[in-house]
Symmetry: C2
Subunit: 441 residues, 2 copies
């Protein structure tokens, strides 16, 4: 039999433990698929002595010296499931430069400074795989960077954060407010004690940067991504969406834009938005993830599955490990980073979006004209207007009315300026809900 | 610049023309992604002189000699979009043995005799890619054979035939019968003049064989697949499904079974079945395809998109072309067929299924006991029984009643024998509907 391929594992938390378990349970299958057995050369952890239950691994493999482990001659592949920027970056650069292939789930690092890792991989002639960094178990990055590379991707729209999807699904199902739904998510273990990274959209923004880079062959970092979380989504917003036949999701959107002169650019953003119930993403509930891809020739595609959790993430990690192990045995490495298109990343103000705006207005002649005038002055075209009694209740309060306006697409800055101008109108009592609308016809 | 990678195209119908168009429109992007330009070396067709509209290709490239084209020294990759067993098999074997990589959409050939192609690829050291053969544009085969190879797939359930999905969706939406819905599909171009391959399940069975082979690392051919089409699905069946909160889909199902002694086998089948409206496959409408995968660690995954059509299929073909072109430039080839598991394929009678059975019975004491006795004698356990007036109408006919029975899982042979025995009971006036049930809790 061929000599074993040896793996250094950095980190042994939820995902790391499941990697160890799967390696153990599937060892015969993995060896058959690779053409050589996979062995764990060592596991770098913070505390060697910690009780790890019945983890099927020799305790002598644990070490507190990750760099020493990486540098060992008998290590072929480095698997990193620690997360965070440093010290992970230093470890992975060290491994890649030394020609050791890396499999990582570290979305924050890839989104913050993927270029450094890709450069180190090119320098060392090593593979850098990171399927687990976005949408957990869903085979997504490899289809984007391989299966669809004969096509032209125009737009990627994803639900890539399970915590916020759980919260929004709960708000939609029960009419609860954000705080109440967050509490439920925390109790059930879907939200961390400090939920900031999830509910403020940082996690989704990192994934958006990774997806956009692959879809558009362009380096996109987390700093390029416009980010809004879900903390300001209200029960009233959810009710507004329902009245429109929609639901609210935290979406990451990466879109290719072509200006009138034919110049291409991309916009990448994360924010809550209304989508029609008929859209395939609308039925993605609970903590599931899904990514909707629109390509020139392929048309609409969707990938759906579990976005987080130890076993699903470990599945994606091991899929990558098998691939790099095979490459190693064949003496080749995978295509490196593809950033040849190098498209400009446009700021949010230039992204084309649609708004759904609810207003409480004075119920008297001339109001609709005044409101419509504000849209016209900002060159925002109105798609639909619905007028009803204020508060959505039965008619008869007499003084106030509710206006619900949905726009056509316009630059986001023009839409935002329209909302600011509406707030300044004397006849507008209040702007009760502003939501972007996606996935429309 | 690196010298071009040259492609021989066999066939220039709907898919072939779109391959030519995409190669032309995306040539700069494809060259950047591959690292060398892609060129068409020749196109084998039946009639050279045919009017091909504005196809962006030199007419001198057309030839009626496919074998001559394949054998030319300046051909690196052979793309086959002709279909059928012969002469395609002879051409592809010739190409592969000569070390020329093959990209094909030919599901019938792969399902009938994939082994011959895989063996020729191994012999010639060439790549054999066939993403377009199943579920058109959806990146599915590569995720199955690469992304999930660190995991263990237990079950694949797919809607892989757009024509039948269109027909069943129409029956569900309008209450139409099969003949009427087929007529609509034909008028709209979703069904061919001779719809046999689609409505009798042959197309889906070929795809089921390909999916099962990849999912279970086992050679499965079309002959191993139990096949039932949708021609016998009635409007009454569709109504029965609705009453159960279900819809009817033509499913291809490939499942891993483990017997009490721990021996593993697979069952592969295509038949119409009821699935709950809450199942992700239930909302896959019109001519869309989707494949639902259940893996040990990854959990539930779904892949959704267009299963047919020129451009979607051409997208999948070109994705493969880019991959094999890159392999060629790198001087490597992809992992060959993985059939190491070599599991036994069990006959349909041993597959575990659930039945939904509607009976018109005499409305008198002892009937339920007699019916229940038939199930018990066949060791089939009943999950639910609903009794109502015959025909589903208002009560009061007095003499007849309707019994709707849903079973737990049992060997299909036992369920089929139960239905035969029910038909023989004097008190059973008729068995009005028999449908398998899938995707249940």
């Amino acid at each position: 039999m061929t000599s074993p391929v040896r793996v250094a594992l950095l980190g042994c938390g939820t995902v790391g433990s499941d990697v160890v378990r799967l390696l153990h349970e599937q060892s015969a299958d993995l060896a058959a698929r690779i053409g050589a057995p996979l062995e764990i050369a060592g596991i770098a952890v913070r505390r060697v002595g910690r009780d790890r239950g019945d983890l099927p691994v020799d305790p002598a493999l644990f070490t507190t010296d990750p760099l020493g482990l990486i540098k060992r001659d008998d290590v072929d592949i480095v698997v990193e499931v620690v997360g965070g920027i440093e010290p992970a970056r230093g470890w992975l650069v060290e491994a890649l430069r030394a020609g050791k292939s890396v499999v990582t789930a570290n979305k924050a690092l890839l989104a913050e400074d993927g270029a450094t890792l890709h450069d180190a991989a090119a320098e060392g002639g090593a593979d850098l795989y990171y399927e687990a960094s976005v949408a957990g178990a869903i085979p997504l990055l490899r289809p984007l960077r391989e299966s669809l590379h004969g096509d032209r991707i125009n737009r990627v729209t994803g639900i890539v954060n399970g915590t916020t999807n759980f919260i929004l699904s709960a708000m939609d199902a029960t009419g609860a407010g954000f705080a109440e739904a967050l509490e439920e998510a925390t109790e059930l273990g879907y939200a961390e004690a400090d939920p900031t990274a999830d509910v403020e959209g940082f996690d989704a923004a990192a994934k958006a940067a990774i997806l956009a880079s692959l879809a558009f062959h362009t380096r996109v970092t987390a700093a390029d991504v416009h980010r809004e979380g879900i903390t300001e989504v209200t029960a009233a917003d959810v009710a507004s969406a329902k009245a429109m036949g929609c639901t609210i999701k935290l979406l990451c959107i990466a879109a290719r834009n072509t200006d009138p002169a034919g110049r291409e650019s991309v916009s990448v953003r994360v924010h809550p938005a209304m989508i029609p119930l008929t859209h395939p993403l609308a039925s993605v509930g609970d903590a599931f993830n899904a990514v909707f891809v629109e390509a020139e020739a392929a048309g609409q595609l969707m990938f759906y599955g579990r976005g987080a959790g130890g076993a699903p993430t470990a599945s994606a990690v091991l899929g990558d490990v098998v691939a790099v192990a095979r490459n190693r045995l064949a003496g080749v490495h995978a295509a490196s980073e593809s950033a040849y298109a190098d498209l400009a990343v446009r700021p949010m103000g230039e992204a084309l979006t649609r708004y759904h705006i609810s207003l409480d207005v004075a119920d008297r002649p001339g109001v609709l004209e005044a409101v419509a005038g504000v849209f016209a002055r900002h060159e925002v075209s109105i798609a639909t207007v619905r007028q009803g009694p204020a508060g959505g209740g039965p008619a008869g309060r007499g003084e106030d009315a509710e206006l619900v306006i949905v726009t056509h697409v316009a630059p986001d800055a023009a839409l935002a300026a329209t909302v600011r101008a509406l707030r300044g109108l004397e006849i507008v009592r209040s702007v009760t809900s502003v939501l972007r609308v996606e996935g429309g016809a």
